[in-house]
Every structure is written in C-alpha cells, then in structure tokens.
C-alpha cells in the first residue's frame, strides 16, 4: 500500500509538471492566459507530492518491506536504522527520486516565495523548471521505478555496500543533490529571462540567493565527500581526481563563477549575457555529473552497476536540455542589450578575470575527465590523474588566487591601482617572505610551496576589505565574502601543508614493537578479533604517543561484512590541532608480524575546516542578501503607499 501511494503521488506530480509547463508557456501569449493562474499552485503541489513520495520510500526502508524490489536489493533487516534510511538514496532509483524531489521542491519554493520577477518571466521560469522536471519524471517512472514490487517478497535483503554504511555517506549524497539540483533553479531563471528578454539587476537579485544556496550545498557536499574518501577508503588521500569527484567539482566551479558574475549584474548591470550563459553551464555540469555517476561510463570508485540503457536515457536528457538552452541562448543572446561598461582596473575587471580563470579551470577538468572516453572510441585505454590535473589546473588557479587577494579592495566601475598600492605591497611581501622561508627550510614540490605562500597571503588579504571601515557597519554579505575567501585560504593551507609535510611509514610490526612516524611513536599492543552488528573484524590496539606525551589508544580494523560479504579497511585517526595521525592495519605476514601503514599529516584538517568556512560565508551572504531585499521591498511598498495616500488626498 505504501509503495503504491508513493508511486501514485509521483504520477500525479508528473502530470502537474505537464500542467505547469503548458500554463507557463500559454502565459507568454499576448494578453496572458487563464491557465497561468494554475502554474504557481501546480508547482507547489508538485513539490509536496514529490516530497510525499520520497517520504514513502523512506518509510519502506525504515520497516524493511522486502516485497519492494529496491528494499530487498539494497537493505537488510539487521542494519542500524540510520543506514536503513540512508540506503534509500544509496542506490540508483532512490537517488533519482531524491533528485526529482529536490527539484520539485525547489520549483514549489520559487512559486511560493519569489515576487521580484515580472510575472511573465516568472511563468517562463516555472515552465522551464517543469520542462526539465518532466524529463526526469519520465526517466524515473519508465526506467527506474523505485516502488517496483517483487512477485514474491524476499526472505532477506541483500544489504547495503558496507563502504556506504557510514555516517558521512548518509549525508554526502543528499547534500550534493541539493547543490546539483538547486542549480536547476539558476538554469530555469536563465531560460525564463532569455524567453522574456528581461535581464537586469532585479533578475540578478532574484537569482542570487538560489545560486548561493546551491553553491553552499555543493561546497558542503564536496567537503564531506573528500573527508569520507579520506578516512573510509584507507588510502590517506583527500582528492583523487576521480571522475565522480570531478563531476561534483565542475558544477562547483561553474556555480562559483556564476555567483561572482551575478553579483556584478546585481550591483552594476553588466555581464548580462555572460551570467545567463553561466546559469545554463552550471546546471549542464550538474546533469553531466549525474550522467557520469549514474551511467557508470567511467572507471571510478563510484561507478556502481553499469547500465547502458539508463546511461543513454540521461545522455538524451542531457543533450535535449543543454542543447535546447544553448540554442535558445544563441538565438536570443544577441538581443540581450549590452550592460554597463567598466574599466579594466575595477571590481568588475577583477571579477571578470576570476570568471575567465574559473571557466578555464572548468574546461581543463572537463577535458581531463572526458578524455578517457574520447580515446576509448579509438580503442586506446588511458586514465588521467594528478600528473595532468595538478600542474595544468595550477597554471590558472595561481593567477586567479593572486588577483583574489586584491580584487575585493577595488572599487566598482573604475579604480586606480595606486590607491591600493600599499595593501597590495604588504600582501605581496608576505607571500614572498613565506616563499623564501619554505625554500630555505627544505626542498618541496613547487605547487605546495606556492600554495603555502598564497594561502598565507590570501588569508591576510581576505580581511583587507575591512580596512578603514567601521566594523559594525560592514554589511553581513561582505562578512560572508570575507569568510568565504578566508576559508579558501585555510583550505589551501591545509592542502599545501599535507602535500609538503606529510610523513608516511609502512612497517611490519610484531605485537609489542614500536615504530615512529613524524613526531609520533606507535606501539602495537595487541591484535584482537571483534564483532559488530553485521560484521566481524580483527582490530589492532595501538598506543600512539605524540612527542613522548601520554599515549592515546587507536583501534584500526580490517572488517568482514557478511551481508553482502565484503572486506573493508577501517582506518583510525588521532586528531590534534596541528594535524592528524592516520593508521591502517593490514595482513599478517607468515612470520607473525602485522602490516601497519601510518601517516602523520600536519594541518590536514584545515582542508575541511576551510570548506566549512567557505560554506558558512555563503550562508552569511544569503542572510545579508535576503535581508537587504526584504528591506528594499519594504521601503518600496511604503513609498508606494505614501504616493497612493498623497494621490488620494
């Protein structure tokens, strides 16, 4: 019954999406249409129904209803509740339902709260949102029905991949999806604005909170995903340039560029066509990401079941939406009138530089990610990894980060470099000093050394826009920018420090023996068998002491899950303010010694703290922008009221 309710809700929601599309399109006619009145209610109801369907799926997973195929293939009755629930989206069908749900809810939310746009643009936007939605409803209902019943209820579920039975992973996919799908709103806004040719500051202000929101979720999703890969895969790395990591990085790069260009459009009415273009590109990257993940077309830690039919369906949707939007852009971009002008040395100039660099990095990541597919067409197998991405990406990242130190200090429209000579000189000398210091201290790779210098320079520079201002009067959105830029510096410092200063120790140790890594001494106390709810393991009992201080206990495990049967390596971490000790236990050699792999990673945690700061900066910016808009709306309403009162007298 529950499954049927969910499925019915989905079908009705998809019908409402059709209604929303038709109504929105009819509203574009001269003189409007009666149907237009139905568009907003349809969007809101559609959002509620999709949310209802998703709740039904969660329920099925919570009670482990084994007559439902998806539950039987992805869950197990002997699993903690949280992992039963997260199992609902830890598979193809469930995650596509989550995608639809977020998309429908975002559409409903625009219909509910958005009042800044002209009604016609609004209708076109909701129609675009519905148009994209319909494709994904079709995909879900026709090729990946999550509510499908089994002819015979299963006796027991097949379980969830143990790698996915992890608290970080319970929240990583939904967070990313909120980001991916939140960008659909930017896409729909862009299409709506192209349809009605209404591109200007009001449009930018309406779009900005959505872009910011999606970007915050993407930032958090990437940060969480990176940390999960770091401790769960047991390889000790925080970024692998894995195709699916790239699939989440590409929309983030596009959204970051969009975020900055939309600010130029809102403040200065410039970069109109470019902002629209980025709105289209950002969501295209989200869909490309989904395609890469869901089709299993690339070799990846995330490439689960390979399913060509689903892959081609998403590829078709991808071509339809991206192609359609780009075609519309090509037809209409010329008619979008040119915005305001600005000088090269100006805030706009710096932001354009940021946008061009981000686009270049996006292109580099995109090419590197798709290159193996391309060569495969010629039957040549390659994999593209850090030797490509790191140096080539850095060629554009380094100039971007350097301009980022002074950009926020420049004035809008036109500025002279002389005015900011002094702070720029300070930042430059800090960078050079750090560079010199690191070069004297030891020989490290060029990228980590540059990274350390830029991180410290940027960290200081991110606060310089506060110079000469009264701190209590700085707008909240500006604090958001400062925090996000500082977060980038913090994360960069973590990355550079981890790359430059990490120490690794691989040792075969007998019980009772000690081994050193960096400032740590680690003693293998014993190795014991242990058991959990759905696994057994051997557990190493390590005593790790930092620089001779009181030892702490670490228990890395090698786990055997029985549903489904699989082994995983559970690393353990000892976190200090200045870094992490990372320990993994391996096999026992024939002479009785145990393999231990240990890393000391100075300041590695800053990578993720930085990511969180960036996201928090985004949250502050949303608060500041929404508050500013509400205030502006209130002032406008009051002045309208006064005018009316005056006219009435």
């Amino acid at each position: 019954m529950i499954a049927e309710l969910g499925l019915a809700a989905l079908w009705i929601a998809s019908a409402l999406a059709v209604l929303q599309l038709v109504g929105g399109v009819l509203a574009q006619k001269q003189g409007g249409s009666e149907m237009a009145k139905l568009v907003r209610p349809a969007a809101i109801t559609q959002g509620l129904l999709a949310a209802f369907a998703f709740l039904m799926l969660l329920w099925l997973f919570a009670i482990t209803d084994l007559s439902v195929k998806l539950v039987a293939t992805n869950s197990h009755s002997a699993k903690p509740l949280i992992f039963k629930l997260s199992g609902a989206w830890g598979n193809h069908e469930g995650s596509m339902l989550l995608w639809i749900t977020v998309m429908a809810m975002a559409g409903g939310l625009i219909a509910l709260v958005e009042r800044r746009l002209p009604e016609k643009t609004m209708m076109a936007t909701l129609a675009a949102q519905a148009f994209v939605g319909i494709g994904f409803y079709a995909f879900l209902l026709l090729s990946s029905n999550p509510f499908e019943r089994l002819p015979q209820p299963a006796v027991e579920g097949m379980g969830l991949n143990p790698l996915l039975q992890d608290i970080g992973l319970a929240f990583h996919p939904p967070t990313l999806y909120f980001g991916y799908v939140g960008l659909s709103v930017a896409f729909s806004f862009a299409v709506g604005a192209l349809m009605t040719r209404k591109v200007g500051p009001d449009f930018a202000r309406a779009m900005r909170p959505w872009v910011l929101g999606a970007w915050v979720f993407l930032t958090l999703g990437i940060t969480a995903g990176s940390y999960w890969a770091y401790y769960e895969l047991g390889w000790g790395g925080w970024w692998f340039w894995d195709p699916v990591e790239n699939a989440s990085l590409m929309p983030w790069l596009a959204a970051t560029a969009l975020l900055h260009s939309v600010s130029v459009l809102a403040a200065r009415d410039a970069l109109r066509a470019w902002t629209i273009m980025l709105g289209v590109v950002a969501f295209s990257m989200s869909m490309l990401g989904t395609f890469l993940v869901r089709s299993g077309i690339l070799t990846s830690v995330h490439a689960f079941a390979v399913d060509p039919e689903r892959g081609s369906f998403i590829l078709f949707l991808l071509a339809l939406y991206i192609g359609g939007a780009l075609l519309l852009f090509a037809l209409r971009a010329g008619t979008v009138t040119e915005g305001e002008r600005f000088s090269v040395t100006s805030r706009e100039g710096a932001l354009v530089f940021n946008n061009v660099m981000l686009s270049a990095i996006l292109g580099i990541v995109l090419l590197g990610t798709l290159y193996p597919l391309l060569t495969e067409a010629f039957d040549v197998r390659v994999s593209v990894g850090p030797p490509y991405f790191n140096p080539v990406g850095a060629i554009f990242t380094v100039p971007m980060l350097i301009v980022m130190t002074i950009g926020p200090m420049l004035r809008w429209r036109g500025d002279s470099f002389d005015r900011i000579k002094f702070p720029a000189a300070i930042v430059a000398s800090i960078m050079l000093a750090v560079l010199a210091l690191v070069l004297v201290l030891g020989s490290y790779g060029i990228l980590p050394v540059l990274g350390l210098a830029i991180a410290i320079g940027l960290g200081v520079a991110s606060f310089l826009p506060l110079r000469g201002r009264k701190l209590t009067r700085v707008p909240i959105a500006t604090w958001g920018m400062i925090m996000a830029h500082f977060g980038i510096a913090v994360a960069l410092f973590g990355m550079a420090s981890e790359t430059a200063f990490s120490e690794e120790k691989l040792a075969a140790v007998s019980v009772g023996d000690a081994t050193d890594v960096g400032p740590w001494t680690v003693v293998l106390g014993s190795v014991e068998p242990v058991a959990g709810p759905n696994w057994t393991a051997i557990e190493g009992r390590l005593q790790a002491s930092y620089d001779g201080s009181e030892p702490i206990l670490l228990n890395p495990q090698s786990r055997n899950f029985w549903a489904p049967p699989q082994e995983t390596t559970e690393s353990t971490l000892a976190t200090r303010w200045n870094g992490q000790l990372y320990a993994v236990i391996g096999n026992q050699a024939s002479d009785g010694r145990w393999q231990l792999r240990l890393w000391w990673k100075p300041f590695v945690t800053l990578i993720w703290y930085g990511g969180i700061l960036v996201a928090l900066g985004g949250v502050l910016a949303i608060i500041g922008r929404v508050r500013g808009d509400l205030k502006r709306r209130y002032v406008r309403a009051r002045s309208d009221q006064r005018r009316e009162d005056a006219a009435a007298l």
Binding site: V306, V356, V382, G385, L506, A508, Q595
Partner: protein, 156 residues
C-alpha cells in the same frame, strides 16, 4: 591600464580576452593530456611493445596462482600479473593489499616499469564487491569467462 576603454571596443576586447584564455586552456590541456595520461596495458602488450621505464602507466591482468609472496621486510609484496596469452609481468608493491585481493583474481595497478622490467605499483585497484569493479577489470573478467566457455566446449 586605468581609465575606461573606448566604449565601442570594450565588449569586443573582453570577449577576445576570454576566448584567448579559454582556447589557451584548451590547447594546453590537450597538449598535457597527450603527455600525462597514463595508458592501460595488458601483460602481452607490455611484452610486445614495452613502455618506457619510469612513465606512468596502468597495468591490468590476473594475479597468477601461487605467485603472491611477501618479501623479507614484511611490507613489500611481489606477485605476477598474467593474461590469457600467458605473458607475465612481475610486480612489486609496497603497502597494504586492498580488500579482496586474491590470487587468480583480477587487478588493475597504477605505477611504472623499472629498467629491469618489473612493474612498480603505487596503487592497486581491486574488486570490492560485485557492484564495485574497476571497469577494465570487469571487461577482462568477461573475456576470461568467454575464454573458459570456449575452452570447455572443445572436444577433449
């Protein structure tokens, strides 16, 4: 540098600069891809057309039965990777073997050949479960299954 450009030219200059940067990025990327992408080799391909020592490549194949041993340091693992055509490549790997790494099963290794013709692996990708198989490996197993079937069908 400072002062607004001639209005007529501004849009054009911006577009040209952006295009130059993007095309530059594209050219740089394609040049780098040709040099930095690591190619996938099967053991027989290494035998027939050995890659230059020290160049990053990816090696795929089956771990030969009875070849896996831990060296005296207790950390370095040595094994042999083979394929259907019975070419073999000796592999050395320093590290903890991935879960489900067993003899007779498939493996994909990132690394490079040394001058003596041994493959030095930096990273081993093995099968984690039925749903999580490196793609090259999956195809290889399909080949192997096909080969086995053909073998069984032959009259004794």
């Amino acid at each position: 540098m400072s002062g607004p450009l001639k209005p007529k030219h501004q849009r054009l200059v911006l577009i040209v600069l952006a295009l130059v940067a993007l095309i530059g990025a594209g050219l740089l990327a394609s040049w780098a891809l040709r040099n930095e992408a690591s190619y996938f080799y099967l053991p027989n391909q290494i035998a027939s057309d050995p890659p230059e020592a020290g160049v990053a490549i990816r090696l795929g194949g089956m771990v030969q039965e009875g070849s896996l041993k831990t060296l005296e340091d207790g950390i370095t693992v040595a094994f042999t990777v083979t394929d259907q055509e019975a070419a073999t490549v000796p592999v050395l790997y320093r590290g903890i073997l991935p879960d489900l790494f067993v003899e007779g099963s498939g493996v994909v290794a990132d690394g490079r050949m040394d001058v003596e013709g041994t493959f030095i692996a930096d990273n081993l990708l093995a099968k984690h479960d039925e749903n999580y198989v490196p793609r090259e490996l999956q195809e290889m197993e399909q080949h192997q299954a096909a080969a086995t079937l053909v073998g069984e069908g032959k009259p004794q």
